[in-house]
Every structure is written in structure tokens, then in C-alpha cells.
């Protein structure tokens, strides 16, 4: 038992509880500022995580919990995301009727769940951490109790999420029944024998259903647009970044750490899922007018791109996913921060609300445009290098799996389609007619800082990718590829 390994998670939980307690003694007008305290606390933990090293994997809780390079990479990822999301929540605080301190605390509990997920080395921890994330998000999505959309998003997420967990648990039960263990390390030893048993494969498939729901992969993506649209903007941002990344780390662990022998037989299945996810997300995004809904569909498409890296089944593919997630983190957070500020008092989050934004606030306009350009995968921003790495991984796979060339064709088609709607947003910002509101938008300094940080990171990752590429390549060594 080595509790000190999970000190970061405990620190986050402790900070969350402290925020809840502090709420009792904080006068009402000051409550929203608790968010800054929360952001500062998480920021400190983020800095502390930079001091941690994971040269060799270390285990805790009967080997349920592993701390290796991959886990540490994702923990830092989630911590950074949470800092920006908390700052965003403070901006959003006046649109939440009551219980803003609980909102902050829930974000931190979800963060703890994500961090545990990053270290999961056992199906029990997979299930528990995933549920910690999901159940917290049921509340976070429906936090604007006065708004119908928010409640509706919550109910939809609840029903589909609970259904997905049921599949997940049943799948884990079947896997456990055959292999007699839930630990990834032990599974790997017994998987070769167990892989002959159809029940075992069925169990794994059901687990994939559960994880596919988390990352919004086709055909488990139906919840994403509605939930993205209805949720409060900070929740959506955290859902898009954190929850999706948690799904991916679990997917990588299950596929390449627990049952790598079986996964290699699933290349075709994964390729089909990736292709369909890309096509579905991009095609459905075309007619959208609601910016959050648009980003919901686009997040489906991005899950598809990242699944390309899974389908590539090589370390280049997995490290590309990590890089892509890093790029996606800053890009999406920048986009949602802008949405959070601009959509104040705008019903329907319509794209027309950003019309003339370049006059109202050049910083917001530039941030949103750069985010769109980065999502579209155009140099010199981070998204381009991520897509480049993913495509490279798939082309590499093409030497042994000719079907990959079809997948590449689909991916290219998807990227071209996505340019259309991303640039549609850029167009709305710079030259669309009929913007009624032309008053300047005041941007508070914490929001400015987080926007500048996101922009700088987008440029940094696009121009100087070397560092993160090396980190990502180092991190995926934890997987059996």
C-alpha cells in the first residue's frame, strides 16, 4: 500500500471539500470568488504535479492503481483543464441561481475522478472512477435548474450514461467470469487463453460500448449534441476536454495494457468506428447554427480523428492521440471561454451572436478564430501538428493494412468538410451582416490571462512540437504496443 502515489488526487478532493466548507462561512456576494480560490488551489496542485517523476511504474491499492508516465501526463492534462474551467465558471457564476460553491466543488470532484481514471490498472478502478466522473457530470450539466435546456441535457445524459454504465458493468462481469481477475496485469497473462472464449470477447465488447459512450464514438454519440448544447458553458468545456480525455486514457489502457493480444484482431472494427465517427460528426455539424451544438458535433468528429490513432495500433498512433489531446485541450478551452463570455444573455447561443465580434473585442475574436483554425487543423497552430501525427500513424499502418487508405480518404474528406463549418464561424466573426449589438465587451483579467495562455499554448505546440512529442512518446511506453 503506497498512499503517497495518489497524493495529487487526495489533494484535489481535500481542496474540493475545503471549498464546500468555506462556502458555509462565506457571505453570499463573495461566494463566486471562491472559484478563484479553487482555481488557485488546483493550479498549485498542477505545479506540484510538475515536480513528480514517474521513471518506473509504481503501484498502489493491490496494483489497482498505477503511476507511470502515461498517468502523470493525463493528470497534468486534467489539472490544467480544471484551472481554466474554474476561471470560466467564475465568469459564468451570475447565470447560476444558487449553489455556485457546490458547482466549483463538483468540478473538483470530477477532476479527481479523471485523475483516478488516468491511473486505473484494474476494472474496479475503471468503473469507480468513470462513475465518479459521470455522476458528477449529471449534476454539472443540469446545474442551471431554471433553464429547461440544462435540465433536459441532464436527463438525457443521465439516461444514456446510466445505460452505458450498465453495459460496462455487465461486460466487466463477463470478463471477470472467464479470466477470474479484474486486474490489467493479470488479465494480460490470461488473455491468450481466455480469448478463445466468446463470452470473454462479448464482455470486452460491452466494455468498449461503455467507453465509446464516454468519448462519443459512433454509434454511441447521440447524447453529445444535446448535452453540449444544454449544459452550462464551463460544464460543456470540461465535458469536451476532461471527460473525453478520460474516456481515451481508459480506452488506451484497456485495449493496449489489459488485452493487447485481442485488440490486434479488432483493427477493422476500430477502423470502421473511427471512419463512421468522423463522417457522422462532420456531416451533422454542417447545418448547425447553435455554436455549442456545433462544437458538440465537432467533438464527435475529433473523437473520430483520435480513434484513428487507436486503430493505427502502433506507438506512433497512441502518442499522436496524446499530442492531439494536448492540442485539443487548449483549443477547446479557448473556444468555450469565448463562448462563455460572449453568450451572456444571448438565448440560443446562435452563431450570429459572434457577428461583429472583431469590433467588440479583438482578443475574443482572435481567440475564437484561432481556436476554430486550430480545430480545423491548419498551421501554425497546435491542431495541425496533431492531425499530422495521426495521419502519419495511419499511413504507416497502411503498409500492412490496405484498408487504412480508405480510412485516410474518409479523414481527408472529414477535414475538408470541417473547414467549411469552422471557417463559417470565422466568417461570422469578421464579415457577417446584421449584428445588432456592437458595444464593447469587457473581459476580466483572469479570463484574459487564461485566453492568452491558451493562445500561447496553441502557437507553442504548433511551432515547437518537439517537447510534447517527446513527452508523449515517452508516456506511451507504458502501453504494450
Amino acid at each position: 500500500m503506497n498512499l503517497s502515489l495518489s497524493i495529487l488526487e487526495f489533494a484535489v478532493i481535500g481542496a474540493g471539500l475545503a471549498i464546500l466548507l468555506a462556502d458555509l462561512w462565506t457571505p453570499v456576494p463573495q461566494k463566486r470568488n471562491l472559484g478563484y480560490a479553487a482555481a488557485a488551489a488546483v493550479g498549485l496542485i498542477f505545479l506540484a504535479s510538475m515536480l513528480m517523476q514517474a521513471a518506473a511504474p509504481a503501484y498502489a491499492f493491490e496494483k489497482m492503481y498505477v503511476l507511470d508516465g502515461l498517468a502523470l501526463f493525463f493528470k497534468r492534462f486534467f489539472l490544467f483543464a480544471a484551472v481554466i474551467v474554474l476561471v470560466m465558471s467564475v465568469e459564468f457564476a451570475d447565470r447560476i441561481e444558487a449553489g455556485i460553491a457546490e458547482y466549483y466543488a463538483l468540478i473538483m470532484f470530477a477532476l479527481a475522478g479523471m485523475m483516478f481514471a488516468a491511473s486505473a490498472n484494474d476494472f474496479i478502478l475503471v468503473f469507480v472512477s468513470l462513475e465518479l466522473i459521470t455522476v458528477t457530470f449529471y449534476v454539472l450539466t443540469s446545474f442551471q435548474r431554471g433553464r429547461l435546456h440544462s435540465l433536459e441535457a441532464g436527463v438525457k445524459y443521465l439516461i444514456l450514461g446510466a445505460l452505458a454504465s450498465a453495459f460496462l458493468v455487465y461486460g466487466i462481469a463477463l470478463v471477470f467470469g472467464v479470466a477470474n481477475t479484474t486486474n490489467f496485469g493479470e488479465l494480460m497473462g490470461s488473455a491468450r487463453v481466455a480469448s478463445a472464449r466468446p463470452v470473454f470477447l462479448l464482455g470486452l465488447l460491452l466494455v468498449l460500448v461503455g467507453l465509446g459512450f464516454k468519448i462519443a464514438a459512433f454509434p454511441f454519440q447521440i447524447w453529445a449534441p444535446d448535452v453540449y448544447q444544454g449544459s452550462p458553458a464551463p460544464t460543456t468545456a470540461f465535458l469536451a476536454v476532461g471527460s473525453k480525455a478520460a474516456g481515451f486514457i481508459l480506452l488506451l489502457r484497456v485495449l493496449f495494457s489489459a488485452v493487447p493480444e485481442i485488440t490486434v484482431n479488432w483493427t477493422k472494427l476500430l477502423m470502421v468506428i473511427a471512419g463512421m465517427t468522423i463522417l457522422y460528426g462532420n456531416l451533422c455539424a454542417i447545418p448547425q447554427r447553435n455554436l455549442k451544438r456545433l462544437l458538440g458535433y465537432s467533438s464527435i468528429a475529433h473523437a473520430g480523428y483520435m480513434l484513428l490513432g487507436v486503430a493505427a495500433m502502433n506507438s506512433a498512433g497512441s502518442s499522436a492521440i496524446l499530442y492531439y489531446l494536448g492540442a485539443y485541450l487548449f483549443t477547446v478551452l479557448a473556444a468555450f471561454t469565448v463562448i462563455c463570455v460572449v453568450m451572456r444573455g444571448v438565448e440560443g447561443d446562435d452563431i450570429s451572436a459572434v457577428a461583429g465580434l472583431h469590433q467588440r473585442s479583438p482578443l475574443l475574436a482572435a481567440s475564437l478564430s484561432l481556436a476554430m483554425v486550430s480545430l480545423a487543423g491548419i498551421p501554425p497552430l497546435a491542431g495541425f501538428f496533431g492531425k499530422f501525427l495521426l495521419l502519419k500513424a495511419v499511413v504507416e499502418k497502411g503498409a500492412t493494412q490496405p484498408g487504412c487508405y480508405w480510412l485516410i480518404a474518409v479523414a481527408i474528406l472529414g477535414v475538408v468538410i470541417s473547414l467549411y463549418y469552422y471557417l463559417g464561424v470565422v466568417r461570422a466573426i469578421y464579415w457577417s451582416k446584421g449584428s445588432a449589438e456592437l458595444s464593447d465587451i469587457k473581459v476580466s483579467w483572469p479570463i484574459q490571462v487564461s485566453l492568452y495562455a491558451c493562445i500561447a499554448a496553441m502557437f507553442y505546440l504548433g511551432l515547437f512540437p518537439d517537447r510534447l512529442v517527446n513527452i508523449a512518446m515517452e508516456a506511451v511506453k507504458a502501453l504494450k504496443l
Binding site: I124, E152, V155, A166, V169, Y170, A173
Partner: protein, 103 residues
């Protein structure tokens, strides 16, 4: 003693009934009940597999079930609260009518 496959059959049946309920019924509460049935089917599986395993002294299955029950309870609590909240708006728990978002 009842053999393992009978437990598995029962649990598969339970899972099927729950899934059918979750997919076909429109009332949010009934759907939640269906999902709970599915979760319990999985729990039953776990217990049966644990009981019949070669190493019942490793309490993995049992432990999982405890976690699962706890989490299912949390899920149900949040779920019911949500359904009540939305019921106040719509005056119905029919999922088909929660369709204000389209596209």
C-alpha cells in the same frame, strides 16, 4: 447447489428485461428502473462468478458488487432528483416530450 449456468441464465434474462424496459418505455422512472435491473444482473453475475471461482478467498467479485451497489444508489439518487426537477417544468416524466433541442 444450483449450477453456475443457471445463475448466468437468470442474470442474462434480467439484463434483457432491463434493456428492453430501458429502450421501449417512455417514462423516465421506468427507464431508470430498467437500468437498475441491468446493473443488478451484472451484480448477480459477479457474485455467481465469485462463488464458483477457483479462488473464492480473493474477494474481487464481492468487492466489485459492493462498489457497484453503492454507485447505483448514487446514480439513482441523482437521477430521481433530476427527474423531479424536470417534472416540475413539463408536468410529465415522458422522455419523448423532452425535445426542446433539435438539430
Amino acid at each position: 447447489m444450483t449450477p453456475l449456468h443457471q445463475y448466468l441464465f437468470l442474470s442474462a434474462l434480467l439484463f434483457g428485461v432491463g434493456l428492453a424496459g430501458a429502450l421501449t418505455r417512455r417514462n423516465a422512472i421506468i427507464v431508470l428502473i430498467g437500468i437498475e435491473l441491468m446493473l443488478n444482473a451484472a451484480n448477480l453475475n459477479f457474485i455467481a462468478f465469485w462463488r464458483f471461482s477457483r479462488h473464492p478467498e480473493l474477494a474481487t467479485g464481492l468487492m466489485f458488487v459492493l462498489f457497484s451497489i453503492g454507485i447505483a444508489a448514487a446514480e439513482a439518487a441523482v437521477g430521481l432528483a433530476l427527474i423531479i426537477a424536470i417534472y416540475r417544468h413539463y408536468r410529465t416524466a415522458n422522455l419523448d416530450q423532452f425535445d426542446s433541442m433539435k438539430g
